[in-house]
Structures are given as C-alpha cells and as structure tokens.
C-alpha cells in the first residue's frame, strides 16, 4: 500500500475550509506523535509504525472497543453499582477526574432533572492546534456547541493562551477531554500503543490469560493486549485513519418512556458521524414532554450520566500488516 500522504483530522472534521493550512498542521501533530522511525516490538518482533513514513501491506484491521463508563468504579463497587454511578459523575470544579476511559460527559439539568447528557471523545491536542492556528474559529465553535454568549476571555488565561480548563469546558459545559490522570489525550493513547509493542511475551503468551496490564481501566489493557497480540505475530501495527478516539456504538435497548413504551431516537451527533462520533448528545425533544431522567433503563430511573455512559462504546481503530518489500 502506498505511503499515507497526509493524516486526516479526527472524524474527517472540516472545521476549516478545504485546502486550509490547518490540515497540514494537524498532519504534523500526528506525524510527530508516531515518530519518524518505527517503534520495534520486544525482541525485534513486530512494530508500531508511521504510515506516512513506512510502507506496509495491510492484512486487516482490528477495532479496539471498550465501555465508556469507568471499569474501575464498577469493580470497586461490585456490590453497590449505584455508588459507582454516583462516583462517575462526582468531580471537583475543574475536573471530571473519574471519567478515565477516554470518554467524558456532562449533564445539563433543569429544575433538578437531567435535561441532556453530552459525551465527548475530542482531544485537547486537536483544540489546542486549532486555537494556535485560528483562535476565533475555536471561539465560534464553543459558541456553536456550548453557549452563544461565550467570549474569548472566557476560554483564555490571563496571558491570552487557550485555557482547556475554562468554565465552558468544565463546570458549565463540555467540549473536549480534560482528565489528566490517567491522561485522556491522543498522545497518551498513541504512547500506550507504542509501549504495547514492547511489552514482554513478545513471541507467545502463556495462553494469553495471564496478560494483565496494570491499569484498572477498560481502555488501557484493551489497547495494550490487542496491540501486543498483533505485534508479537511479527505484524506492523498503526492507527486506522482518521486516527482518533470515537464513540462507535450506543445502545438504548430497554430504555423506556414514562408510559413504558420504547424511547425514540434522542441521540444527536453534532461532531463526527454514526459509528465514529466525537460529540454525542442525548436529549429528549421538548415535544415529548419529559426529561432524560424520566426515562428508565431496564426499569430503573436514570439518575446519573454514567447510567448512559455504561451503554456507550468507545473505539480506537487499528490496522496491521507486513512490511512492503
């Protein structure tokens, strides 16, 4: 397969006109993350490569999927699931610190009821790159996505730099990831994949069951185990274009209106597309006459955003192949 000429934006977003120099800037960001030389696998078996630099004949793709709600919270509260969901929403003023699965969400309430839940898989790198390129475009997107009254001062710090922890991305709204420990960033995800090819057991695991990378998340061991599994077979592995973190599926089976009938399609994808959403909103149309928290999932009322996040699947696409001659 020929070398990739330019990395595309996540979800092939077109936040700037076609032909804008921004797209070259974004290419440089991804190119820099993947590096000029492949990361060799343990014992020289397999590698993580940059498709802009290394030519590989792709043999297949593997979509790495995981649950959006933090697995660690469910495990720590195995006998009290409601406690897990309470912790999933709990955060300090500027943090969504428990939302560590590369899915962050925020609830909009009205009169104590949940009116809307917004999920994002957008990365701070993308927004920072946009801001550096054209700060006014970032402001207009904030106004479009969160609140029309937002000013430049609202999203910048005293020195005029972009402030990812601004109120419209933390307490009053949500635009992109902010969790830092463990980091919900694209560079963290790519770094994780790079590290995964260098994990031990490069040639053959002991039936794989013992592979148990440390983190209690779903995301980290999913990426580590799958990338390592491909690399230890001598395959060259990289991200599937357009490289990014996505919401690949959401399941509202068994969600019912107050009258017991199935809910309608209350999902909206302001950014991305079905199967690869970057921003996903769940809000009941006003004409229905009820709120999100009036919906029941399997007969249970929605009291937390995590009740929905449990049914959102996050995805990082991967491809694998062999070096072209």
């Amino acid at each position: 397969m020929p070398l990739l000429t330019q990395f595309d934006t996540p979800g092939s977003l077109r936040d700037f006109p076609a032909g804008s120099a921004f797209y070259g800037r974004w290419h440089d960001v991804i190119n820099g993350m993947l590096g000029a030389t492949p990361t060799p696998g343990s014992g020289g078996v397999g590698e993580l490569y940059n498709p802009h630099v290394t030519n590989v004949n792709v043999v297949g793709e593997r979509l790495l999927v995981w649950m959006g709600f933090p697995r660690g919270l469910l495990l720590a509260n195995r006998d009290n699931r409601q406690q897990a969901f309470e912790l999933g929403d709990k955060r300090s003023a500027t943090e969504r610190n428990t939302q560590v699965e590369y899915l962050e969400w925020q609830m909009t309430k009205e009169g104590g009821k949940i009116k809307k839940v917004t999920f994002v898989t957008e990365t701070p790198e993308y927004w920072q790159t946009m801001f550096t390129f054209d700060r006014n475009r970032v402001l207009s997107l904030y106004r479009e996505l969160v609140n029309p009254s937002i000013t430049m001062a609202d999203i910048t710090d005293a020195g005029g730099s972009y402030n990812p922890l601004n109120a419209w991305n933390t307490t009053k709204g949500i635009v992109h990831y902010i969790v830092v420990s463990p980091a919900n960033t694209l560079s963290a995800a790519i770094g994780l994949a790079k590290d995964s090819v260098t994990l031990g057991r490069a040639t053959h695991a002991q039936d794989n069951y013992e592979l148990s990378p440390g983190a209690q998340t779903s995301a980290d061991p999913r990426v580590q185990t799958d990338v390592n599994m491909l690399a230890r077979k001598g395959l060259s592995v990289t991200g599937r274009e357009p490289i990014g973190l996505y919401m690949v599926a959401w399941d509202d089976t068994g969600w019912t209106k107050p009258d017991g009938s199935p809910v309608g399609n209350y999902w909206r994808i302001p950014r991305g597309r079905p199967g690869a959403a970057l921003r996903l909103e769940y809000e009941v149309p006003a004409s229905e006459g009820f709120f999100v928290s009036d919906i029941r999932i399997g007969g249970r009322p929605i009291t937390h955003g995590g009740h929905l996040a449990e049914h959102v699947t996050v995805m990082l696409g991967g491809i694998a192949g062999t070096r072209a001659a």
């Binding site: 148990s212 999913r222 068994g254 699947t313």
Partner: protein, 590 residues
C-alpha cells in the same frame, strides 16, 4: 429467471438436505465415539488409584485448606448447596414446575415436606463419581445406576411472602429484585405487544403470570421422573399451591443426544468451579486432567475449561478477581445471612424456529457461495458435532466434536498448543489439528455465538481477559419439544410442533453475569468485538427495531448480512434464588 415458487421449492429441498446431513454426520459420531475420548468423562482420580467415592467421602476432613488456596467444601456446605448448581444434574429428563403460592401457611408446610427431597451437591457429586467409576470399569456409557433429583428456587416476591419484605430487599442484586419480566426489554425481547416474544404473551413469567416457586425434577429414567412428579404435584395441590405452568425437558434422541434443536452439540463449554471435596490430593469438585507440571493446570480443569472461584456461583464464597486469575476476590456481602451457599437461577424458555434458522442459512449461504453447513457452523462457531470451527475450518470432524478433552481446547488470538494431559487409559491424546491464531475473526468470526459468549483469550470491551471470568455462568439447560434435526423427511405435523430450550443458569450476580453476557455481548454489534449480533441468541431491541446483522468475512473483506427473521423467541421464565437446603425448611418454611 427462476419463479418464486420454484425458489421456495428449492429452498425447502436444501433445508431438508441440510438437516439430513446433520443426521448423517452424527451417525459418524456415534460410530467414532467408542474410539475417541474414551477417558474424557471417566474419573481417573478414582479408577486409576482404586479409590471408591465412598472411601473418599469418609476420608474427607472438614476444615482443611488445600495448599493451592482452593477452598475445601466442608461436608456441611456440600449438604447445603443444591445439586443442580454444582455439579449439575445432567440428566436426560428434566421437568420444570412453576408454582404460585396459595397461602403462606400451607406453602410453609409444603416446604417442610419437600425439604428432605432436595438433592444436595454432596449427593449429586457422589453419584456422578460413582457413575464415572462404573463407566470406566464397564467400558460403556450404559451404566446400570439411576437417580432422580429435585431442586427448588424462589422469586424475590416469594421470599418476601415467606420471610419479610426486608429479606427480599436485602438481596443486592437489583435485577433479581425486579424480576425477569421487568428486565425483559433490557434483554432485547420484543416490545411489540403482538410479538410472540413479548413478555405479555409468555406462557410463564410475564407481568401477570410470574411464578413464585420453581421446582426442577430430573431423572435418568422417564418413569422414575413421572413418579416423583406425581407425588410432588399431589402434595403441592394439597397445600394450595397453584401450578401455573409445567414444562417437560428431554435430551434429543440418539444420535443427537446433547445437541440443541438447530442440530448443534450444546453445553460443551462450562467453567470449572474451583474447590475441593477434601484436602486429599486430586480430590477436586471439578476433575483435573492437565499435568501439574504444565502451567496451564492452574488455569484449566481440562483443556479449555477455565477454573473459576466458587463465589461466582455461590453467595458467600470467594469470588473471581477480575484483575488476577489465581488470587480470589472477597465474597459478596449484599444478601441476607441465611442465603449464603445459595445461587441465583435464571430460567428462560426459548422457543426455537428450526425452519426459519435453516431457511436463512441455506438462502444466505447460497448467496455467499459458502456450503450451508459451513455457514451455519460459522454462525455458531462449532460444527454440528461440536467440533470447533477454529480447529477445523472447512469440514466437521465428528470424532473431534465427541472428544471432551479436545473439543473445547482452542484460543482465538494465538496459535493453540497441545496440553500435557495426565495419563488416561485408552485415550490416545488430542491428535487433531490445533487452532491457529484468528485475531481478526476470519475463521471463527467475531459474531460467532461461541466467540460472543466466551471470548476466551481475547480481550474484550472490559479490557482484561481476566475480567471475562467474572461473567461466566453455569448452564443447566435442556431441550423441550420433539426434535426435527436429525429426522429424515420430517412430517408437516412434526414441523408445526413447538420446540426449544429451557435455558437455566446459575450465578451470584444476574446483572454482572447472565444479563451482561446477553445484553453487552450477544445483543451488541460492537462488543466484545465489532462484527455484528450473535446470530443465534442475540436480539436487537433498540427503539423497537428487531433487525440484526453480521459482518461475514469473505475474500479479505466483510459482507454485511442483515437478519430480518428471529429463530430464538423468549416465551417465558423467571429470576429465582436457589437457597441453601437448610433454609428451605428453616427460614423459608418455618
């Protein structure tokens, strides 16, 4: 262009041929079974060492802790755990009685009466060991001993009525407290009230016909079963219990014994419960067949049978640790004290439309250019004989399907290596081709039933492979209705008869185990891996939709196949709790 009428005739003939082929293939199994896996179900720990089960029981010393950390089930516990949970009845005839309590006072009297009839883990284990020992000695499956077992389980409502509302609420499993009918749509069942699978149309367990008590009677012999049933039903009537529904279950006739109605061998993959009957070496609840020198002996009871800590199935015992395979996690604590050693029982009466399934198979296989039986086997992940597609991608190998030590030994993500087995007299070893790495799901697709419900060494949407072990259930189902698979030229009246599976599972958390597997894996197009629904038991229920799909691997690409018909239709069931035997005459019956 062929006429629609001719198409219909062709399809009918092809379906008949496919079913006939099943019959032929299984005839081969019957012939080969004598020569394969002859040691697979024999108890080497008795036969090889000459220790009779009775001796073993006498020598068991209570309170001992084995060196490997696995718990020793003390005699008192073994006599308290109901036998269908562990080790399982595994009888050819099983009957299900669904009762509604008439008056609490008389029900309690009836419980006092039935309590001594409830079969314990201790009894069933002893029988199974004796059976294996005799089978080994006689060299035949035709062992001249028979048993009839009885178990019982209660809904949360029944527990509230027999004890107190507080006791019912003390069960932390919210799904159990809600009941199956309340969770039906969450499991993907039809929301359209006109649909046969809608809970309002269920023969049992719907909003208006939920059962309080489920009695399971099982036997090796149809007459013995009838006798036991007559006595139980007579006494129940006498004590004003109302029989809402009853269902007879029976294994399919030879040569499809052990198969489900679509024609595929069922129940092959079960977790092996960790634990010992005593601290004596090799005295395990789940017999072990792998050499202790093979590191996999710590993982598997026999090749492919993962060892799982008992708290996944029995309340109050150490549970599986989702982070570590060998160190158990703490027992659950969210249940009434008296419920320790009990287990949640999920019962689903699943009607199977064999014709719809095979018509879809034949029509789709034809359009894809794949042999019908191969296509059907890729949907299941196993060939009709039970031979895994991962080990034999292009043709059934009935002898492999019949070999208990080989048919469940395969990985998905890496090449599978042979296990080092303990010496088993007469067993030549697993000599079949081993499974090759299939991480992209090209051989056994990601949607295949066996890959959906048991991802094995593959990681899942919950990250760690170890996490999959906390999802496992003990399946104790049995078919109902007359078989059509394996019947040559089935008559029109035979086709019309109802058939299906009485699905029964035991677990310590309905939500994290049965419901998780059903909703999060079988019904999902993206979990545990992207590729479509489980085409066998998966359901689509989002926003009232019923259409499913699979992404079928073909020629380096995948072809999306939509599935518009349903062939597994829920028609009843319930969520129950199978209490410790002491509680039946005790807290529940007193």
């Amino acid at each position: 262009m062929p006429s629609r009428r001719k198409d219909g005739k062709d399809l009918k003939q092809k379906v008949a041929k496919a079913l006939e082929n099943l019959w032929k293939a299984e005839g081969d199994v019957a012939r080969q079974e004598r020569f394969s896996a002859t040691g697979a179900n024999f108890g080497p720990q008795f036969a090889a060492k000459g220790v009779a089960p009775k001796d073993m029981a006498v020598r068991a010393e209570e309170g001992e802790v084995a060196a490997d950390g696995e718990p020793v089930f003390e005699e008192a516990v073994r006599k308290d755990v109901q036998g269908n949970i562990i080790p399982g009845f595994n009888k050819d005839y099983q009957h299900f009685l669904f009762y509604r309590i008439g008056t609490v006072k008389f029900t309690k009297k009836w419980l006092q009466w039935i309590a001594p009839l409830i079969s314990s883990m201790d009894e069933v284990l002893a029988f199974n060991r004796m059976y294996r020992s005799l089978r080994f000695r006689l060299g035949s499956k035709d062992v001249p001993i028979k048993a009839t077992w009885v178990n019982i389980a209660f809904s949360c409502e029944a527990i509230a009525a027999l004890t107190s509302k507080k006791d019912c609420l003390a069960f932390g499993d919210e799904s159990f407290r809600q009941g199956l009918a309340a969770r039906s749509e969450y499991l993907g069942d039809p929301t359209d009230r006109r649909a046969a699978g809608n809970k309002r149309n269920w023969v049992i367990g719907g909003p208006k016909n939920e059962a309080d008590i489920l009695v399971i009677v099982a036997s090796d012999d149809a007459k013995l079963l009838r006798d036991a049933l007559n006595v139980i039903k007579e006494k129940a009537e006498e004590h004003r219990l109302r029989l809402l529904f009853e269902q007879a279950g029976e294994t399919l006739p030879a040569p499809l014994r052990g198969h489900e109605h679509f024609g595929f061998k069922d129940g092959i993959s079960q977790p092996g419960v960790r634990g010992r009957v005593s601290a004596i070496a090799d005295d395990y609840i789940t017999p072990r067949y792998i050499q202790p020198t093979d590191p996999r002996s710590r993982l598997f009871a026999k090749p492919g049978q993962l060892l799982v800590w008992p708290g996944q199935f029995l309340l109050g015992m150490q549970r599986q640790n989702p982070e570590n395979l060998f160190t158990p996690a703490a027992a659950a604590s969210n249940f009434p004290k008296w419920a320790a050693s009990g287990s949640f029982l999920v019962c689903r009466r699943l009607q199977q439309d064999v014709k719809a399934f095979w018509e879809f198979v034949v029509a789709t296989a034809t359009s894809l250019g794949v042999p019908a039986q191969k296509f059907a086997s890729m949907l299941v992940g196993r060939w009709p004989s039970g031979a895994p597609v991962a080990r034999t991608p292009n043709a059934d190998v009935p002898a492999l399907g019949a070999d208990d030590l080989a048919s469940n030994h395969f990985l998905f993500d890496d090449d599978t290596r042979p296990s080092n087995l303990i010496p088993i007299s007469g067993y030549p070893g697993d000599t079949y081709s081993q499974a090759r790495a299939d991480m992209l799901g090209l051989v056994c697709p990601h949607f295949a039933h066996v890959r959906k419900v048991n991802p094995r060494d593959s990681t899942t949407d919950l990250g760690k492979v170890a996490d999959s072990l906390i999802r496992m259930i003990l399946r104790r189902g049995i078919p109902f209705g007359p078989a059509v698979a394996g019947v040559k030229d089935p008559s029109a009246s035979l086709w019309k008869k109802e058939r299906g599976l009485m699905f029964v599972s035991y677990q310590s958390s309905i939500e994290d185990q049965f419901e998780f597997i059903t909703r999060r894996w079988s019904n999902s197009v993206a979990q545990p891996n992207v590729g479509g629904h489980d085409p066998i038991i998966g359901q689509e229920g989002s926003q009232g939709s019923r259409e499913r799909f699979i992404d079928f691997p073909a020629g380096g690409k995948s072809v999306r196949v939509t599935i518009k018909t349903e062939w597994v239709i829920p028609t009843g069931g319930g969520y129950f709790f199978s209490p410790p035997i002491g509680a039946i005459a005790g807290v529940l019956g007193s």
